[in-house]
Symmetry: C2
């Protein structure tokens, strides 16, 4: 065991060239999703993506999945079939496949647990513990879309354009993992620490800081927020900056890189994947935690610690 409990992914020494990666994540009905708000095929894609994202954040190649399902006795067989189809497709896009699992009865709820195994060449592994003072903090894509999608599902009468609604709801129900980007970042040898944005960028950056023994500042006005997210936030009277900071479930990659290597890495993802990246802060000295500044060189904001996404406390997710 190279890396055990504490990270989202276990890193295991097995074979001579690679590490074996193992992760698992669940979706519990009425906690993580509502059955009337997500199609079974979407749910399958979602649980796959959540696990794929964990492997992506280590720079890994997803390979084998075990699916454990507990379902009510009266659930239609077609529901399970569609769920499996969605799950299989999402995995297949990255060369992975379901290799086993089990099915059991549950009184009322659908509970899905997926375990995903992957591999990574030893020299390409990226963990959370390598961030160094002066590193820039970079995030792929945009933040807050998933939270905006959740808001729209809860307030379907909010007045937003169909296009924006479609975009944020899709980001929420069927996120895509940044698998290719994660692999490129691992291969680049330039990334010091990486995590996927599942708890919200503030909370996930905290994981990097704790593991690396460093502090960080986040520049609020730099957070990449899509026009669709802003439109939804305006319609429901919410703050898109807060969604970007603490909304969670964006499944973007958040990583740190030495300042003088940053443009190389950002250029690599743009060229190879067409994926935009944004510098959203920097790593500071010891033990300051993650401070939120209004912007680079700006004033410090005081925000409640509870703004980070804690599944166990808040539990809100796909459609709930």
């Amino acid at each position: 065991v190279v890396l055990g409990i504490g990270d989202d992914v276990a890193v295991l020494r097995y074979g001579d060239r690679d590490y074996l990666l193992a992760t698992c994540d669940s979706q519990v009905e009425d906690i993580h999703f509502r059955r009337d708000r997500i199609l079974p095929a979407q749910l399958g894609r979602r649980i796959a993506a959540i696990n794929l994202s964990d492997i992506a954040a280590m720079g890994g190649v997803p390979r084998w999945a075990l699916v454990s399902l507990a379902v009510p006795e009266d659930l239609e067989v077609s529901y399970l079939e569609e769920l499996y189809v969605g799950l299989g497709k999402e995995l297949q896009d990255w060369g992975a496949a379901v290799v086993g699992g089990n099915l059991s009865r549950h009184e009322r709820q659908v509970v899905i647990d997926l375990s995903l195994l992957g591999t990574v060449p030893r020299e390409h592994l990226v963990c959370r513990d390598g961030a160094g003072e002066g590193d820039l903090i970079v995030v792929t894509g945009s933040l807050g879309d998933s939270r905006a999608g959740l808001a729209l599902l809860s307030e379907p009468r909010a007045r937003v354009s169909r296009e924006s609604a479609g975009q944020v709801i899709e980001r929420h129900l069927t996120p895509r993992a940044r698998v290719r980007e994660g692999q490129l970042l691992g291969q680049s040898g330039r990334v010091h620490a990486m995590v996927d944005v599942s708890d919200g960028c503030w909370g996930d950056l905290m994981h990097i800081c704790r593991r690396s023994g460093v502090g960080a500042e986040l520049w609020l006005d730099t957070l990449p927020v899509s026009a669709a997210c802003r439109e939804v936030a305006t319609a429901v009277g919410a703050d898109p900056g807060r969604w970007a900071l603490g909304g969670g479930e964006d499944y973007e990659l958040l990583f740190t890189v030495a300042a003088n290597r940053c443009s190389d890495v950002v250029g690599l993802l743009a060229a190879e994947c067409g994926t935009s990246c944004t510098v959203i802060g920097r790593v500071t000295g010891l033990d300051t935690g993650v401070q939120i500044l209004t912007g680079k060189g700006g004033r410090r904001l005081e925000l409640p610690a509870s703004m980070g996404w804690d599944h166990f406390l808040t539990g809100a997710s796909a459609g709930t």
Copy 2:
């Protein structure tokens, strides 16, 4: 993927010398266990043993476990701690350890899903598909104890000796996987097909027959039933033979071996583990299914097909 969906364990090609084994199994409250009838430490040991048994049936070495827990918000932290201690101890006995997992909220029930990875030297792997006509069918230990334990938990006022009650309840709540026996059987190179007895020896033998494309006969009067199991069956007015045949959750190993190698193999387990084995039938020609005879050379019994243990239909288990 050497062996995927369909067996309890996926067999994966990875590295040069070994196969990687991956399995997962769940315990759902009120389906597989009742929280008032099993201590958290016992539940932890139980979920570990169920998965260990799957690895044992391939001749494998258990190594790394991922645990996925969904629990009600008001569950005491001590419950989780004790569950982890039990889980960890049971794994540790076989050199395995929890390397990761996740915790989420559930409205009311405790749901545990364990994924267990193991390895097996390629030449020691035993699957379900190698049974050949004329093989003897052998089972370790005794059958029906777990079902007797379940009966006693449901009828606590049944009059049986404290010793027998303790024995069968322990077999039910905290079964032990035959890990060492499975490894020895794999190393022996003599075992043609193997499965662990989770669904009942009839149902599990059916799995071997289907996979191997053979039929089998089971000799009812040879099934190893403990004195404690007989005592409980008498007390509650049940047939211990039926428990042995279809009760399930015994986690013994059921395997087939050429008739002229049988005594070597049985002697090996006796000498190395002190584990007794019993010949309970033989493999026959094609497509007969599993026939139950009163005994070797005896008359054929007609039993309802539903006597096999089907978790999805009957779902009865630890304390339910």
